[in-house]
């Protein structure tokens, strides 16, 4: 059935049985996406959800839009082809830490480098779920998993730091269970031109339960999470009494009071001219004593790849004239045989 605008959450639900484990963080992400999509004013048929392989990549089956469940790691490349061919579509990519950072790492960095207009939702649960519990490229050192019974020795990626290194024009982070924040973030993702790269901290309650408790559990998270707001100082803590202050080339956590005021703190700037600022935010969570920043870390304007590709084609058509197949077949020189 054709769905008329305005759409509702129901318009984006499919009749397919959702096959994630009960209690999985993916349900919360699905609910948030299904509630934000109707707000965007985009006809349902203009959405295409593309995914790779893994638990997160089942996402398209549960969205009543166009959807393509591809192969492991390749969603960014499939989506790039689709977006370049069809810039009129809203192309979203659902992926996971194994899918996009391990087997599909190359496509991820090149999608970011090109700034293809894709909305990327990276479900980061720091584990391989669908293959039943191996450590992933975001698992912490020492992770005991099926394939690392004595603990992993691999250093983990920070997905957002990696994205910045690849030239990302938009990076954001949110948490599966903090629904209002997740929805706000998704709205920002939807409005970005170019690659909107979003890390969603997601709990795998079967193979890596509690991996994000410090930032997800209501009773402790306020001391560990830093909600970023453009133009506002970096303040966190249950009592909102802690902040981030510049210290030479580095930053430090300070407690407000005793002469330290909000005016001494770093003010968040999504459009900071240096990506080093966003890199500092992206890697903050790996430092003891520092909070995990969530929200939009960086959002800068840059032409989207698909627009540039298609504009070039139009320019060449305008300057050379529309291609003439007959002339092409004849080539530069011909001769006649009678």
């Amino acid at each position: 059935m054709t769905a008329a605008l305005p759409l509702t959450r129901k318009d984006f639900q499919t009749d397919q049985e959702v096959r994630w484990c009960p209690g999985c963080g993916d349900y919360a992400i699905l609910a948030a996406v299904q509630s934000v999509f109707p707000e965007l004013g985009v006809p349902r048929e203009k959405f295409a959800m593309v995914s790779g392989i893994g638990c997160s990549s089942r996402f398209p089956y549960y969205m009543n839009t166009f959807g393509f469940h591809t192969i492991h790691g390749r969603a960014p490349a499939v989506a790039t082809g689709l977006k370049v061919a069809r810039p009129d579509l809203e192309v979203w990519v659902a992926t996971g830490d194994g899918d996009s950072l391990s087997i599909g790492g190359n496509h991820t960095i090149h999608m970011l480098r090109r700034n293809v207009g894709l909305k990327v939702l990276l479900f980061n649960n720091k584990i391989y779920g669908l293959t039943k519990g191996q450590y992933s490229p975001t698992s912490e050192i020492g992770k005991k998993a099926k394939s690392t019974p004595f603990g992993s020795v691999d250093r983990p990626f920070s997905p957002l730091a990696l994205a910045l290194g690849a030239g990302a024009t938009f990076i954001a982070r949110s948490v599966d269970v903090i629904q209002p924040h997740l929805k706000t973030t998704l709205r920002r993702v939807a409005s970005h031109k170019g690659t909107a790269f979003t890390e969603i901290l997601q709990n795998c309650n079967i193979f890596n339960d509690g991996a994000w408790d410090a930032v997800a559990e209501k009773d402790v998270r306020d001391d560990n999470i830093l909600f970023l707001e453009h133009g506002k100082p970096l303040v966190f803590g249950k009592a909102r009494d802690k902040g981030i202050r510049e210290n030479g080339f580095d930053i430090e956590v300070v407690t407000l009071g005793d002469g330290v005021t909000a005016a001494d703190l770093v003010v968040h700037d999504e459009q900071h001219p240096s990506p080093a600022y966003a890199f500092m935010l992206a890697s903050m969570d790996s430092r003891p004593g520092f909070p995990t920043p969530v929200g939009v870390l960086r959002a800068i304007d840059h032409a989207a790849y698909e627009d540039q590709v298609n504009e070039q084609v139009q320019q060449i058509v305008a300057s050379k004239g529309k291609g003439d197949l007959g002339k092409l077949l004849h080539g530069p020189e011909t001769w006649e045989i009678k």
């Binding site: 397919q16 591809t70 499939v78 082809g81 291609g323 020189e333």
Partner: protein
């Protein structure tokens, strides 16, 4: 042996009497920096414009510039041009131009007894002998006694010709190939006009001037040197079917075929590709044709090349990806996805020597198994193979038509020899091209993603953006008709058989084979791909000697033509020459229980006509 050594053109009478030849094979060989490919291409274009039938064989090393003067650095270009029909670049060479001792050493074995050998004597010195690992001077040790040797100081003569241009020594050195080209134009009484025009278009200022002076000097040098008056030939234009002709290489033909398919289907063309020898030229060529609305995407790797094309196909483009064998291996999982989701896709494999990196610039036909069988599980798809450089155009069109009609990926197996080889090609009128205007599904009424056309078993192509047709596809097994995820045993069995039946049904679009030569007899030579020329020439030669020989050339490798089994049975013996270890022979034996005799050669170069001729005589015994 007649020898001429000269550093300046002496006086000589004009008005040469030329010996008429039916055909001639000329090979230019030298260092990979000596411009042999340019020289050969120019000579070829001139022969084509003159009206000769022709066939070329460029042969160059994988290294861009191997150390100068060494054996691995030798690059060659062979052209067979004729007043009659030509099928191959020629078994042996009539005129060999060797720019240095390494080129002479690696090529002289192909020069026929009594053939003309032009050597750049400037390069025949101790230093260059050492680089070529030659112990004695071949110009003095009698090893060239069976040939007509002309020694020319190419560098000195080029310097003399360009002394007024003020060009530096290095640039002068790079002009010397035009001296050799000018000489060859004189030897065969050809006009220099085409090449002079080309030089003006290609080069600027001093360099253009120097190249033109050198070309003219080479021509004048032969004209004025008495010794060459006995080496003046004429090869009359060929009597080809009436029409407008152009010279065309396989990769150019493929690129044009894809553009033609885009126009005839009404779909924009998308190429996802990653640079790889010998396929890159298709990417280069299509990226020039953006005014045809072509989108070329140089992907980050082979996998992104094919998967971006799958994404574009999902969006409603005519999508293609071009590569060679190693790239094919990387694409295979994605091709399996295209099979599973039943989206049209054209995958072009320009085969080269393997395995692994193998021989990047040399030809081979050893990806047939990879194309037909090289995916996990039951994953059939149509496979097509062009027979000649010009046929690459028609095969590209046909591949696109089948891909869209049957909603399936299609593999085109060309090879390095077809890709770089060129032949005169009769330019078709646009009306002669098949038209296959493509319609997407737009009607939501009764739509199911995996419902099928009862005749072709193709599913509907419903592109994103079509209201009411929102649906999900994926590589996971899907339920018949609805496309929903389904792991039921019987459903899987049904889907495996449906996908196989759909591809098998493509045979409805495959023309029956019509053997060339004798329709029944002693031996049928069954070939595919670029062996077409050698087999055709061998078949003609054998029949001229009274043997009953037929030739079946397969262009549709999967599914095979309906009457192939029947057609082969009309001969006592079936011989299958291939540039691999018998892959088609294996398939024919498995498919038809026919006693196909494999004839293999895997040297990175095409069969010689005489090799096939001798093999046929051997199996006839």
């Amino acid at each position: 042996m007649s020898t001429s050594t000269a550093t300046a053109p002496p006086e000589a009478p004009r008005g040469t009497k030329r010996e008429i030849l039916e055909s001639a094979v000329v090979r230019f060989c030298g260092d990979s920096g000596d411009g042999m490919q340019v020289t050969g291409s120019q000579f070829t274009n001139t022969a084509a414009l003159f009206g000769n039938d022709l066939s070329t064989f460029p042969d160059f090393p994988a290294e861009i510039r191997a150390p100068q003067g060494t054996l691995p650095g030798v690059s060659g270009f062979q052209v067979n041009f004729s007043s009659t029909e030509v099928h191959t670049p020629g078994d042996s060479v009539d005129v060999l131009i060797a720019m240095n001792p390494a080129a002479l050493k690696t090529n002289v074995a192909d020069l026929r007894a009594g053939g003309i050998l032009i050597v750049n004597s400037d390069s025949f010195n101790e230093v260059d002998f050492k680089k070529a690992k030659i112990k004695s001077n071949p110009l003095e040790d009698g090893s060239l006694a069976g040939f007509r040797v002309f020694q020319v100081d190419l560098l000195k003569l080029t310097k003399a010709a360009t002394k007024d241009t003020g060009l530096d020594a290095k640039s002068v050195d790079r002009s010397k190939n035009f001296f050799a080209l000018g000489m060859c134009y004189w030897l065969f009484g050809r006009s220099m006009e085409g090449s002079l025009r080309w030089i003006d278009a290609k080069f600027k200022g001093q360099i253009a001037e120097a190249n033109k002076l050198t070309l003219r000097a080479g021509y004048a040098y032969c004209e004025a040197t008495e010794a060459y008056q006995t080496a003046a030939y004429e090869v009359a234009p060929a009597r080809l079917p009436a029409g407008t002709y152009r010279n065309l290489s396989g990769n150019s033909a493929l690129a044009m075929g894809l553009i033609a398919a885009s126009e005839r289907s009404g779909l924009p063309l998308f190429l996802g590709s990653y640079p790889i020898t010998p396929a890159s030229d298709i990417l280069h060529e299509l990226s020039m044709y953006k005014n045809f609305g072509v989108i070329t995407f140089q992907a980050e790797d082979e996998i992104a090349a094919v998967t971006s094309a799958i994404g574009a196909s999902y969006g409603g483009c005519l999508a293609t990806t071009t590569t060679s064998g190693p790239g094919m291996a990387l694409k295979m999982e994605a091709i399996g996805l295209a099979i599973a989701v039943e989206l049209p896709l054209v995958v072009v494999d320009i085969q080269r020597g393997g395995p692994s990196t193998g021989l990047p610039t040399k030809t081979e036909q050893a990806d047939l198994f990879q194309a037909v069988f090289g995916r996990n599980s039951e994953a059939p798809l149509p496979v097509l193979a062009p027979a000649t450089p010009g046929d690459c155009f028609w095969i590209a069109l046909e591949a696109c038509r089948i891909a869209i009609k049957y909603m399936t990926p299609v593999i085109v197996l060309s090879d390095g020899y077809l890709a770089n080889g060129a032949e005169p090609w009769r330019v078709p009128s646009i009306d002669d091209l098949p038209a296959f205007p493509t319609k997407f599904r737009t009607d939501p009424e009764g739509y199911k993603p995996f419902m099928r056309d009862p005749e072709t078993l193709a599913r509907p192509w419903a592109v994103p953006g079509t209201a009411g047709l929102e649906h999900r596809i994926g590589g996971i097994e899907k339920q018949d008709v609805t496309g929903n995820i389904d792991y039921e045993p019987l459903n899987h069995d049904k889907m495996v058989r449906l996908r196989a039946a759909k591809v098998a049904g493509v045979v409805a679009d495959v023309p029956d084979v019509v053997p060339a030569g004798d329709p029944e007899g002693d031996v049928v030579i069954v070939g595919w791909g670029s062996t077409y020329g050698s087999i055709t020439a061998a078949m003609h030669a054998l029949r001229a000697k009274g043997h009953k020989v037929g030739h079946i050339h397969i262009r549709h490798m999967n599914p095979l033509p309906k009457n192939l089994g029947e057609a082969m049975k009309r001969y006592k013996k079936v011989l299958v020459p291939e540039i691999n270890l018998g892959q088609l022979a294996f398939i024919l034996r498995g498919t038809y229980l026919v006693d196909a005799i494999s004839y293999s050669k895997v040297e990175g170069k095409p069969f010689k006509t005489i090799e096939i001729e001798n093999k046929v005589l051997e199996v006839m015994k």
